[in-house]
Amino acid sequence: MAILATENVSRQFGSVFAVERVDLTLNAGESVGLIGPNGAGKTTLLSLLTGDLRPSSGKILMDGKDVTSLPLYARVRAGIARAAQIPKTFSRLSVRENVSLPAFFGAGLAGDAASEWIDEVLEMSGLSDRAGKQAGALGLLDRKRLELAKAVASKPRVLLLDEVAAGLTEPEIASIKEVILRLQPNRAIVWVEHIPFALQGVCSRIVVMDKGSKLLDGPFDEVWASETLQSTYMGT
Amino acid sequence: MTAAQFTVLIFQGLTLGGLYAMIGAGLALNYGILKVLQLAHGEYITYGAFAAIGAIALFPNLPFPLVLLLAFLACALLGAAAQLLIVERAMAHRNEVVAMLVTFGLAVVLRDSLAEFAGADLRGLSVGSLAQANFTIAGITLGVLPLVSLGIALTSFLLLALLIFRTRLGMEIRAVSDMPDIAALVGARVKRTHIVVAALSAGLAAIAGVLLAMRSSISPYSGLDSLLIAFEVVVLGGLGSIRGVLLAGLLLGMTQVISTWADNSAGLFYVHLVFFVVLVFRAKTGKLQ
């Protein structure tokens, strides 16, 4: 059964459709790469899924239930979390406190269960040795890791990754990928990325968007080889 | 209510509305361009009134236009100096609250300096025979003074609009307001523009102060009351819109005149209430940024 689905979802800004009539189904445990040229509507689609934005029309379903009108915080509690493109870390709080917040308020943990889970997330994201450091003092790679850790700490069943590899060097991308592979079991992932090679080995399925609409949707290799993809990227 | 009474009521509402709009004009300009909530605005209004009162006390025969000009220039100078020496520095700070709080300190210094210098008494601006002058049209008697006051307010608005939309200086001001960094790149003098705007805004406040002192009395401690009216006018008018300010002033002026007619202990109760309800309604329907 689909864990998350959009039905005919659109979002207009003025007269422009940023996202137009998109149907997307995400199954439990599935990892989907979402690619497309600049302005294709990928980030807008993620914002519609998290509740940062409301769709102009259409529905968003989680486990078959309509969550379209749920606000951001309630969707986090329902199990949708996003690692933002520009890390939204709390710069005046410590790394551990940053991770604690979603563990407390998103996952609803308390006491020993909370601190064990926080330790585990810090370990998974490779931040254990910097747990006491102020988040504002971290470098870009570590801030990206922290952003991921914050998203994971709310125990999401759907994890949305928004260009988490952007701005990183190749070895850095490899190390972020390692973290993501560790996070993969038992949850669905939607990963938006400009750099398609980052998705390789993580995503078994690829969705291509262009001008607000869904263009292609299929297994990684099939989409990768398709001519439509080549023309979308090369042609424009 | 007879038709004549109704006409008088509308006339009073219009003239009071013009005064309210004038009270808000400088603040709207300041907030619209500098993006600083100028809490000393009420004090500039008071200073304008006292400059006029002082000028007339010293030179009883000074023609009224000169008194107005004198008050305008005095406050413009004060506003420019405050911007240059104090506010501009605070605006450099990352947190915009700092600039607002600095103007708050400035307001207190101005208020109590004036009280120390001129005494705390209420004063009015005597305009001689003009105060009692009236004229009659179709059996309805109206005062000349409110009409003059409305005329001054409308003229000020017209000149302000012409300055902002029809002159080189106005273009520079609008450029600095929209995109300070880019305006600086294409050669706009950002700091100088800020000072000009601060001077203009304090000057407009001074005119409002003169009109206020002609209508009722004013003390060094009247600043907060004026500031509140200015806030209401500017917020209702949509932060920084010249035409909006004029309409908001008229709405609040009308509200006060009509509510006082219906309930003579109304005070500003209904004015504040109308403001509050409109504000919240607009916020709720998403019309507030």
């Binding site: 951001l72 710069s91 308020f105 998103g106 | 605070a90 708050f104 300190g105 202990s265 005070g267 504000l279």
Partner: protein
């Protein structure tokens, strides 16, 4: 969890409160009442403005509500004044919830101005309403009887202990999960919501809590003055004073308001004792505020702590 030092602070606070009630003379007690009441209010305004970013120009709304709640309930029922005092935060807190739901449609400058106008509406309403005493105000007559004895004796003890208890409570609060949420909201509001915090409800809770706190402090204050006028209770002076105290001392710190109050009242007492006028005092305060904001925009206390850490680090290196 309460730390040992906080427990000691509470005990010392209790002893000091009793001593202040017994040993200080009446004039000093009255002054101390004012200081402590201002401190309590400033700490509340600081919690809302400095931690939750709710900069309001209208705390006088709650000063007025607290005073009027105390007087109206005491004068018209037989409930003892000290019980009414405990009821004030509940009554005002309940009023603050719907008020907060309305004013939180407004943000930033709109919020600041909207809260001020709301306070003015309450002020004009009281003036227009004869059963609330109109513009001439009310005299405190609990159960219809005149107050006997010196209320400041009790009030100074309560206010002193409450001030210490408030600091301890706020320290504990900021260590708690909810406190962490407040700090997160201060850092980044949308980011906080994305961790699952119901930011709107948190804001409303803080607004209600700080409103009830200001009202309680006001009730303490007006129980010593024995009369209450709308002009005094609802005037913007309260907002002005609280802003001064918090901003000069250090917005968003627990020690800042204490330093602010000490400066504010200390300077006033010093200047009045030396024959300066109230206007001269305010000029100095205004200049002080401008100077602090331009030179140390964070306020005095944060500047002191930064200076201290720099000094100690300099020594160890």
């Amino acid at each position: 969890m309460m730390k040992k030092v906080e427990f000691v602070a509470l005990a010392v606070g209790a002893i000091a409160a009793i001593c202040a009630a017994i040993f200080l003379d009446s004039g000093l007690q009255f002054l101390l009442c004012e200081v402590l009441v201002l401190f309590l209010m400033a700490q509340m305004w600081n919690l809302a403005a400095g931690y939750a970013g709710q900069i309001s120009f209208g705390p006088q709304m709650f000063v007025g509500l607290g005073g009027y709640a105390l007087y109206m309930i005491s004068n018209n029922t037989t409930i003892p004044v000290w019980v009414v005092m405990a009821l004030v935060p509940i009554v005002v807190g309940l009023l603050a919830i719907p008020l907060g739901m309305v004013v939180f449609h407004l943000k930033h400058a709109y919020f600041a101005i909207g809260t001020w106008v709301a306070a003015e509406i309450a002020f004009q309403f009281v003036i227009k309403t004869p059963s609330l005493g109109g513009s001439s105000g009310l005299v405190l007559r609990p159960g219809g009887e005149m107050v006997e004895g010196y209320p400041e004796k009790t009030v100074v003890a309560v206010a002193l202990f409450a001030s210490v208890a408030l600091i301890v409570a706020l320290r504990m609060f900021l260590r708690s999960r909810l406190g962490l949420a407040v700090l997160a909201v201060r850092d980044n509001e949308t980011g906080a919501e994305a961790t699952g915090i119901n930011v709107r409800r948190l804001h409303l809770a803080l607004y209600t809590l700080t409103g009830a706190g200001i009202a309680t402090a006001a009730a303490l204050y007006y129980s010593t003055t024995l009369f209450l006028t709308p002009l005094d209770a609802f005037q913007a002076k309260w907002a002005v004073e609280l802003m001064f105290i918090v901003v000069v001392g250090g917005l968003g710190t627990l020690t800042g308001p204490a330093i602010g109050v000490a400066l504010f009242i200390g300077l006033r007492e010093f200047m009045t004792a030396n024959g300066y006028s109230g206007d001269q005092y305010w000029i100095i305060m205004g200049v002080l505020a401008i100077a602090v904001l331009l030179l140390l925009p964070q306020g005095i206390w944060p500047a002191l702590t930064t200076f201290y850490t720099r000094m100690t680090r300099g020594n160890t290196q």
